[in-house]
Symmetry: C2
Subunit: 126 residues, 2 copies
């Protein structure tokens, strides 16, 4: 699976072709957001194959940087993400998934990964 | 500005110390979300100094990978981000900023960067 290369500057911002701008590791950032509540659930990573499978299957598929493998979310945990919409940002180096989350998005068992608030003096939990 | 190193696995997930997990370039991903509507506005990057300045100043400060410089959003464009809350994710390699955005978050002049929907056959604009 390969995508055409990114275009220059403003052309990339306006094109209607999917031309993901992968980083040196071949990855783009993927934000998963609850399609109903707007809660940001997690941030993960996709390579070209993960992006293509996400678009074609309607299930969120990521690239696991720790395990170096494709990771169709929920296949092990049961905590699937059903994709309602995929968006790309201006320069196409990030995607936003609006999802319906089964169970917990976070591996800690919490609904979402952003369960701590940061302050200048440290973190506090919800 | 330096932060203590990340802890191992579950300890990192539960610590109340801010221990950002920067990548090989010294950066973490930062999602900016509209504090009122929940709209995801943009994804950008922070180094340690950007994170510290964001926490201490209440203005969103990023690291510009294209210009290789700290970037206090709005200083040039007037499109400031006033930070209502900062959250970190489980392994602390991403932060979520809830912001009040002045004007446009996107350099194209659009309110948010995610103005194109991706489908298997290409992109379409809102």
């Amino acid at each position: 699976m390969t995508y055409p290369a990114p275009l220059a500057a403003a052309a990339q911002d306006e094109t209607l072709e999917l031309r993901p701008k992968f980083d040196a590791d071949g990855l783009i950032a993927a934000i998963a957001q609850d399609a109903d509540t707007g809660e940001v659930l997690m941030l993960a990573w996709m390579n070209a194959e993960a992006l293509e499978q996400t678009l074609s299957s309607g299930r969120a598929v990521y690239w696991s940087r720790s395990r170096n493998t494709l990771w169709r979310k929920g296949d092990t945990s049961g905590h699937e993400q059903h994709v309602v919409e995929v968006r790309v940002d201006c320069d196409q180096d990030a995607v936003l998934l609006k999802v319906r989350q089964t169970g917990a998005a976070c591996h800690t068992g919490r609904r979402a990964c952003f369960y701590r608030i940061a302050t200048p003096s440290g973190l506090k939990k919800d």
